[in-house]
């Protein structure tokens, strides 16, 4: 596995703007359910709409948001061609989380040592 330094993610010109539009697109439970369904395979608009008590135009609106965010792609004839998950965007989010994970795991390792040091030195633990 390629060793990616913590710094490299920040410098990658993927555009945080794109990431936050992806995150916004996923800030809706219906859209998350659609993504979950597509993770299992392609589906038509009708198939995607089936579980929801919602009109086809309402579902289409959600699909447009997901498509604009690059999370799904659709055939030109949207009614008939299947929708497909573009998992690259989800991977970008996973990478974004990973950067934070490294920050916090590293911080908590240091915190562990620091707490040991404070107690060893007998410093008071009150305000």
């Amino acid at each position: 596995m390629q060793k990616t330094s913590w710094l490299n993610y920040r410098r990658v010109k993927c555009g945080m703007d794109r990431l936050s539009s992806t995150l916004s697109a996923l800030a809706d439970p219906t859209r998350r359910a659609i993504i979950a369904r597509l993770a299992a395979g392609e589906a038509t608009v009708n198939e995607l709409a089936a579980p929801f008590d919602m009109s086809l135009p309402a579902v289409s609106k959600h699909l447009k948001v997901l498509e604009r965010a690059g999370l799904i792609s659709r055939g030109r004839n949207a009614q008939w061609r299947p929708c497909r998950l573009e998992a690259g965007r989800l991977k970008e989010i996973a990478d974004w989380v990973e950067r934070y994970r490294r920050f916090w795991e590293g911080s908590f390792d240091r915190l562990d040592s620091y707490l040991d040091e404070l107690q060893r030195d007998g410093k008071p633990d009150h305000i």
Binding site: L19, A36, A39, E42, A87, W96, W104, S107, D125, H126
Partner: protein, 154 residues
Amino acid sequence: MNAPPLKKEIDLTITRVFYAPRPLVFKVWTTAEHLARWWGPKDFTVPAVATDFREGGTWRSCIRSPEGQDYWARGTYREIVPPSRIVLSFTWEEEDATDTLITVTFEEVTGGTRLTFHQVPFPTRESRDSHAEGWGECMDRLLAYVATHREAAQ
């Protein structure tokens, strides 16, 4: 479909047990002097940190990589319940950074303190249809669902 493997969480949850009393574990989150001693990834230094530790107060920090690159971040304290809970926002000072919301809880356990850290993205760009509060749990369920289906499909 060849999708790359998905992480289990989009929201980030870390649980640690520290062998120290809860008031002390809580205390080291509350002053710049303490924060400077542990904040940031391995081998980074903290050239600057400031905190106004109260609900509505702000914090700001600079961490410096071993290569000398500085990264600033800032946030606001949303909720403080000593010695058990801190809720704060965390945002890198970069173009188009996404805000995140962090909840840290401190529980006494035998021999020490369990710290539970939870961070969720808090998109503010498109506020319509935002269900940010339920984000963490829902995303967790979504990704568990996805993981299950991916396994079933193989």
